[in-house]
Symmetry: C2
Subunit: 665 residues, 2 copies
């Protein structure tokens, strides 16, 4: 049986159709449009990335172009294009046009464009699979698609269809003699979007071509260490990064056994696999997507949504191996998992996918950005101990701390800053999706939207102070307001949500009113029950202590705090004790309050804990047990807000006092 | 005030004077002489290390010599020399002579010898500080000294004094134009021993020369990354390894602020600093030694004694940063710390030094060797999770697990196997030391010994089943049996030791008999109180739960189990539950029993713990807290004995149930 064919085909409501003016995400989009878009551009200008597009770099000049620079610029262009649609800005617009001018002038007559290879190694074009050319091409194509949607202009899109045609010619029609698939996946996604934007099916077919080819061509195994065999001796550490799993070359896509390898490559690739499986009704590919989804979200994901646990090779890591102090959790990988989730939802609507998108939005991805929108984390720590050497020996280790405890303005490999830029700018596309006359409401974001259902147009207005507050109100109007069905997501973190219309309950404590149904985490409400009334959803947000699966040794004996969709953490600046030694009491008497963090009021948590008293230790490193404790009150802040004030220790997972002896038998 | 001059000068009783025939270490020395010495030699023969000495390797042949191979062979020679003294073995003796023949034939007329450079790059001799030439020279010299002590022959020693003379000429008299100190310290130690063996003071002066020069010559900063400055961007991970601290080049020896950098280099260097500070009465150097000792043992040492916490650069790591799953804890670094401790004791007798030697002997160093003596750990895990992927997804990750859970027969860089060989072979030298008429008794090892005190010869016989049993008996005889003072170490792990003579108490519960005194962890007993009686020491060995300092975040909420000097661990093969999730109960009802592990009876510990029941988890990765527990009984084995049976999880640190709420206030 063809599972895909039997499934719903969902259409996301595009970012253009959803207007986010204020509220939590409205503020972030304003920061994005006023700060981040400039911060990223300026750093790229300063580091030579923008001007590299002129192909005028010469030996001896500073800022030699790098093979992946075009992708950084392209992601900025994509983000800027989204932003311009809602936030017209002459200066940004000119910068964008100026880069397009440079690309137009620099593009090779074949359609090829890459500022590194055209400038530095023109004779090496498409000879080295590790050199990111198809990856940068993908990002350029995505930027062109965004530019087209945002402005209606086909100029940039035209340039990039020429590039795509050239790639088709080299890699599909003629067959490149050096390698056959992308060293860093991304182009597969881009070609799919190029098909959507142009209606030219060849591009989707080329995307499928790259997916089908992957893992089948021995020439592509450039990252291999002895084909994954154990060497007799332990290999050098650096070699460990590069085996067949690194770029998902260990098997053809349909046979990939587990989520593995470089996390961003993996998430982008799985996303494109989902795209193609949906459009081609390819069950085998979809089964692989389900397997990779389960493996990555049920065994290899941090509670924040972070998904690259392994610094070696920026990799997904082994099952249940989620080190906190050594977490990698690249911002791009969280964004990539949101892409994957979005596509899985489009095949089969299920709240598990929207839950993961929400987890990334508020935690894994958002933590990558400072509150002022101008600095960035590449890797995201779940535990940070920067102060160690200072407060003990008085000597600061000169080595750069691992993991990082301060966001930076730009990176040598600066993929994350423009990625969070474009993610926030296009956030509207995660809110709604439609299928015939059903409207799926997946994210609770203060916004207004308009969309087309089978029976006509529909306008939806969301009013909420989510995630700080637990209620969301909806009003609908339009042609479809009679025949539509609204499917509201019941967040996975919420145990007793309630929904009412003008005070009449539709769902309460899981008892449903007539005509209302609950399926795969969505509450289906006929619009006829709503009419011109106000739907009020209430998602109670008590402080919740989460445990990790017992197989996650790192988190055994610990809890992570959540309230609503937000993961919380303790940061030294709020807590004048050794927070890494703190033990949350059996009954911590949780309370919430509003606290201003870098000018932004947030709901913070307060609770009771205990820490070992220091006086009994003197200078000893180890001593017999039975320490005394003193009680402390802790303050936990949203994880995304950490590292915006004075540097210090931080931890997401906290020790928890348990009463085990009493609880047994 | 000259602190060194005011201090005692202690002379260790040599390994030749202490005969260890049976008991715990007698068995290990037998394994060493029958298994390890052959295992190491055979692997070195198979891998080409032995034959490399012929300098006959040619391009295209297998097994190209490596720059550090001579040090591997030299350490084997040193170990073999010690072994032959007590365990004559014609075959080993011939192998040793055969290598010396090769060296004699191959040595350059200048005195220089290095099988790599003479064969492969004769024009590059002494041009590259990172190339280990002075390090291999050091080990060759140490081997020659051992060979001389063991056999009385001066043949090998003569070859190596010529080499030392050549080094003196190149590096001190003329001044090498490329660099001025060892890229990997070791030669400093060796030259000191060469002085002791030959009486030629020039060698000690050359040792001091290398110590004084270090950290002062800009040409030596070859490991530097921008001289330790933070780069604006995070540097590549591999660069992190190589900064000025890597080879202790960040400051002149006397100014070194903290124990840092490559742990083996550090420990060998600190040891030589102690040697020189003692002989020259150099207070400033001694102060540095004290500072480095405190920093390494009180802030940067695993409970097992392991001292390289940081895989990046095989480095000592940051203060209180002691990851268990990612521990490095190189076997050689533990041995190096024993060297350092031995020398610090020689300046000032204090049980803290002998305690650390004991910790390394029974734990950090010994874990490097399999029970059959034929395979080895290079890095020593404190927590191992090899089974993860197998028992969860059914998919085994093809990447080599970090850290290692299986000892290996040989390594590409195979320094640890011959190091543990020579350490165990010469273990006798850690047992006793003398100063005038005082005999320090530092280690409790079934043995007999003879030594010279100021008032004459003394024979000492120790009878004990330590560390399995808590009593040790001593008998003394000889000229000095009247005037001597015996100083018995009271182990730091023991809280209520007692000492008696023929049943009459000398110390009990810290009350001392007349004429007996306790100082710096040693109980001073005049021989006159002993006469021809039997001294019985009792060191009660209850199971002890150790906590780590609250600043060690990794071990917060956990305990490590010790009994006597042995650190224990849980290994999967003895425990049919998820031991990494186990919580030791408030009252674990500890009991001991004898268990046979790979043919060797050992005292193992049994106790009560609890683990979370799995049924409540299904496939969830995170869920709200309040898990149910079930009671389990655990078995803990000595840490050194792990990884000799079926592979599986292992952990030294265990979660501990605490009753914090009740204990506060």
């Amino acid at each position: 049986m063809n599972k895909i064919a039997a499934m719903s085909k969902i259409t996301p409501v595009t970012w253009k159709d959803v207007t986010i003016n204020d509220g939590f995400w409205g503020q972030w989009q304003k920061t994005n449009a006023s700060s981040t878009v400039n911060a990223v551009y300026n750093r790229f200008k300063e580091t030579g990335r923008i001007d590299a597009m002129k192909l005028s770099w010469k030996e001896g000049m500073p800022d030699m172009p790098h093979v992946y620079w075009d992708s950084d610029v392209a992601k900025w262009m994509e983000g800027a294009a989204y932003i311009l649609y809602y936030h017209p800005d002459q200066e940004i617009s000119e910068k964008l046009d100026n880069i397009i001018d440079m690309i137009e002038a620099s593009q090779h007559e074949s359609g090829y464009f890459n500022s590194y290879f055209q400038t530095i190694e023109p004779d090496k074009i498409f000879t080295d699979r590790t050199a990111h050319e198809l990856y940068t091409a993908g990002h350029m194509i995505e930027a062109a698609v965004a530019h087209f949607y945002s402005t209606g202009s086909k100029r940039f899109l035209g340039l990039m269809t020429r590039f795509a045609d050239h790639i088709e010619s080299v890699f599909k029609i003629n067959g490149n003699q050096y390698y056959s698939t992308c060293g860093h996946q991304e182009l597969e996604l881009a070609l799919f979007r190029l098909w959507q934007a142009t209606g030219e099916k060849r591009y989707m077919e080329l995307s499928k071509h790259f997916i089908d080819k992957r893992g089948t061509d021995p020439r592509d195994r450039v990252f291999s260490v002895k084909n994954g065999e154990y060497p007799a001796d332990p290999p050098l550490r650096c070699q460990l990064e590069y085996n067949d799993t690194y770029a998902q070359d260990d098997a053809p896509a349909r046979d990939l056994p587990a989520a593995a390898g470089h996390a961003v490559r993996a998430m982008y690739f799985y996303s494109s696999m989902a795209d193609i499986s949906r459009e081609y009704g390819d069950d085998e590919l979809y089964e692989a997507c389900l397997r990779l989804w389960d493996d990555s979200t049920l065994r290899k994901m941090y509670v924040t949504g972070g998904v690259s646990a392994d610094r070696f090779g920026e990799a997904i890591g082994m099952a249940y191996t989620l080190p906190n102090a050594g977490s990698y959790a690249e911002t791009c990988a969280s964004i990539g998992m949101a892409f994957f989730a979005q596509r899985m939802f489009s095949i089969k609507p299920d709240a598990i996918y929207a839950d993961i998108i929400e987890r990334q939005m508020y935690n894994g991805a958002l933590a990558g950005l400072s509150l002022d929108g101008a600095s960035f984390f590449y890797d995201n720590a779940l535990q940070s101990v920067p102060a160690y050497n200072d407060f003990t020996t008085g000597i600061h280790d000169k080595r750069l701390p691992f993991p990082h405890y301060r966001r930076q303005r730009v990176f040598e490999c600066s993929c994350c800053p423009p990625n969070i830029l474009r993610f926030i700018a296009a956030l509207g596309e995660y809110v709604y999706a439609t299928e015939n006359d059903t409207l799926f409401i997946s994210q609770y974001i203060q916004s207004s939207a308009q969309m087309q259902l089978a029976s006509g147009a529909l306008k939806v207005k969301q009013t909420t102070n989510y995630p700080w507050q637990e209620t969301v109100s909806f009003q609908i109007e339009g042609d479809a307001a009679v025949k539509a069905t609204l499917a509201f997501r019941v967040p996975g973190w919420c145990t007793n949500s309630s929904v009412s219309v003008n005070g009449t309950s539709l769902m309460s404590d899981h008892s449903l009113a007539a005509g209302v149904s609950l399926s795969q985490g969505y509450l289906y409400v006929p619009a006829s029950l709503i009419g011109d009334g106000v739907v009020t959803l209430t998602f109670p947000m008590p402080v919740t202590e989460l445990e990790a699966n017992p197989l996650v040794a790192e988190d055994s004996g610990k809890v992570a705090l959540m309230r609503g969709p937000l993961v919380y953490c303790l940061e030294a600046v709020d807590n004048g004790f050794n927070l890494l030694d703190a033990v949350v009491l059996r009954d911590p008497q949780y309370r919430t309050e509003i606290k201003d963090i870098s000018g932004i009021p947030m709901v913070v948590l307060r609770g009771d804990a205990a820490v070992r008293t220091n006086d009994q230790w003197d200078k000893a490193l180890y001593r017999t047990g039975g320490s005394k404790y003193e009680k402390v009150t802790f303050t936990a802040i949203p994880y995304f807000a950490w590292a915006n004030r004075e540097a210090g220790d931080m931890s997401v997972w906290l020790h928890k006092e348990a009463s085990i002896t009493d609880a047994i038998g």
